[in-house]
Symmetry: C2
Amino acid sequence: MKQNAFYAQSGGVTAVINASACGVIETARKHSDRIGKVFAGRNGIIGALTEDLIDTSKESRATIAGLRHTPGGIFGSARYKLKGLEENRLEYERLIEVFKAHDIGYFFYNGGGDSMDTAHKVSQIGKKLKFPVTCIGVPKTVDNDLPITDVCPGFGSVAKYVAVSTREAALDVASMAKTSTKVFIFEVMGRHAGWIAAAAGLAGRSSADAPHIILFPEIPFDERAFLERVKRCVDGYEYCVVVVSEGVRNPDGGFLAEAGTRDAFGHAQLGGVAAAVAALVRDRLGFKYHYAIADYLQRSARHIASKVDVEQAYAVGRHAVELALGGKNAVMPTIVRRSDSPYRWTLGHVALSRVANREKLMPRSFISRDGFSIASACRRYLQPLIRGEDYPPYRDGLPRYVELENIAVPRRLPENFMLR
Amino acid sequence: MKQNAFYAQSGGVTAVINASACGVIETARKHSDRIGKVFAGRNGIIGALTEDLIDTSKESRATIAGLRHTPGGIFGSARYKLKGLEENRLEYERLIEVFKAHDIGYFFYNGGGDSMDTAHKVSQIGKKLKFPVTCIGVPKTVDNDLPITDVCPGFGSVAKYVAVSTREAALDVASMAKTSTKVFIFEVMGRHAGWIAAAAGLAGRSSADAPHIILFPEIPFDERAFLERVKRCVDGYEYCVVVVSEGVRNPDGGFLAEAGTRDAFGHAQLGGVAAAVAALVRDRLGFKYHYAIADYLQRSARHIASKVDVEQAYAVGRHAVELALGGKNAVMPTIVRRSDSPYRWTLGHVALSRVANREKLMPRSFISRDGFSIASACRRYLQPLIRGEDYPPYRDGLPRYVELENIAVPRRLPENFMLR
């Protein structure tokens, strides 16, 4: 029995989420005896709810292959979390209705912990409504906070971007420190987890190398210890490079950014922890400082993607289809580490119920005793994930990222669905 | 008569200033019949004043070759401007004294407009003190604000970084706009000149493409027109990408960053124009926003350097030595454009007096009539400068940037020199 598949991207996008889409679509095409067309949700799950589907079968083989090197979410993603089955039964029923109308028997949901929860619930409701759908989660998050899998596709490339940028900016700061900036602060993403900040630690080898200080969300900010460390560093090396995670918190649990800097209108700044740390350095130590905020640049930087990450992102997409065809349901492919060096990994899978809504923070053993740098176990873990370069093709000095024909699947349902 | 050479880096460093150093040193080594050793100033001109010289002859051929792909200023740079001859005769005399002590007959000064002025003055004072020194400026500035030369080495690589990053981040924002960030603001460098901001314009082709708005220092900020444009853009495309130059000014001439955001302590933020623009978007339009500040990342991003820029940086270093050996003095090599497409360039030179302390802003004809994007003449000018990739070698996922042996030249002068 041949059925169509539905694929959607969810939450914050990454430099390699389209590589997973490529893995799903190319593998589905190879099994055209069992999978009909792959429909993608325009703007993620919203596309399913509103019956706004993109027909990927209308895209050329070259375009689909080009997804492997194109950052962002090519079909559009959404921050739209389906609530519990009881609270929001209508939405789940609507999904099944749309799937039924388009004969969709496979649901591939490419996202983080929230999305794994949604995929899990869709598999349950399908059964109840007598339209069983094979639901496979495809892991993705730059925050690297999904449990069980060795790593989340998307993370390795941010890690590489952050490590490379830290090394490069540090060379700049070191050159100029005699007469200019002494303290350079680099703000990175990661929400509650310090994985991205930790990756900056790969830029240096010894304590003299940048980054000299990493501020993790897992370690409450100790202002006195921090300022002492900055001063010691400037005294010893003439400059100090600080990497700060956006999620760093004060000992009272509040975000550091909220405590420090406010704008002229009295609002706490969003994503402004670098400015707060910089103000502290200026006011308490008087050093000249600069700060960078990578923001979306870090998670879209396909030009400096990790080859390992691209391969893994493709592999989980491919394996999601293989699992579905192998009769698995409500599972997510995982990366299983076999060895650190040389890095060897295979694919496994895990029940969605075991990964849904769980957040993997950095273990304390991955952070140095003083809380300001990565421990050797962390370096061993991170090192292989940034390995290899996988450059996109260029034209006229710019990467050639693909664009879709973007042809919509004709609607089959009479009514529009109103989103919350 | 064989004499030694002195080379120093000055002002803000770039991703390719060391490629110019490579060009100077490799070319000097080829002419060992006429040039003895190349001494480099540790921390730029400060190294000359304090007789703190690095003996580059102690560096291996591989290390010197590796400078071509290593960002930052390998010998250290300095923000240290020698004043006028009358005000600060002592410093000029000291330079000549150090040059004399080390038999330095060639002075290669790698910097921007200020440095060209210094090199010019050194050539004058040398003559007066009966120790003539051949002084050649080597152009360098990411701001691209030196006159006469087609482009300043360092600029092409920042331009490429900014264009690539804008294209990538825009794909991210476009993916998520339905339910998340509507306005993305990207702050770039450039001081009083809009060249770097203009380079972001290469990321798009049509008015629907990002960046939708560029804020140039050359165009006084028109708040109403800006907000209208942002709104129109979000209405039309669902998102808006704004690139803002750090040097943007209000109609009254003050920096925009000073007018807007202040931190909790009442200080105006440095380099915080993105936050000011973001606050405006939030308070007047209520759109969800994000902002990135590339800061030093943009000028150290050797990993995404422009091949044309690397070649030009090397070529001006090489040509500086050739000019010196050809009997020229008080000149700077220039890049001369022969054609736009295909881009053809040759080397020329200009008297230092003609480039010293002059700033080349964007001509008005390079900016669209509405002041928010680049005109086609600007695109024609910029396009070739970001052409080609010139990737550094990698090891373990990180670029292999070289380090020096860093061996000091033994001092020959008895007294220390006290810097101002």
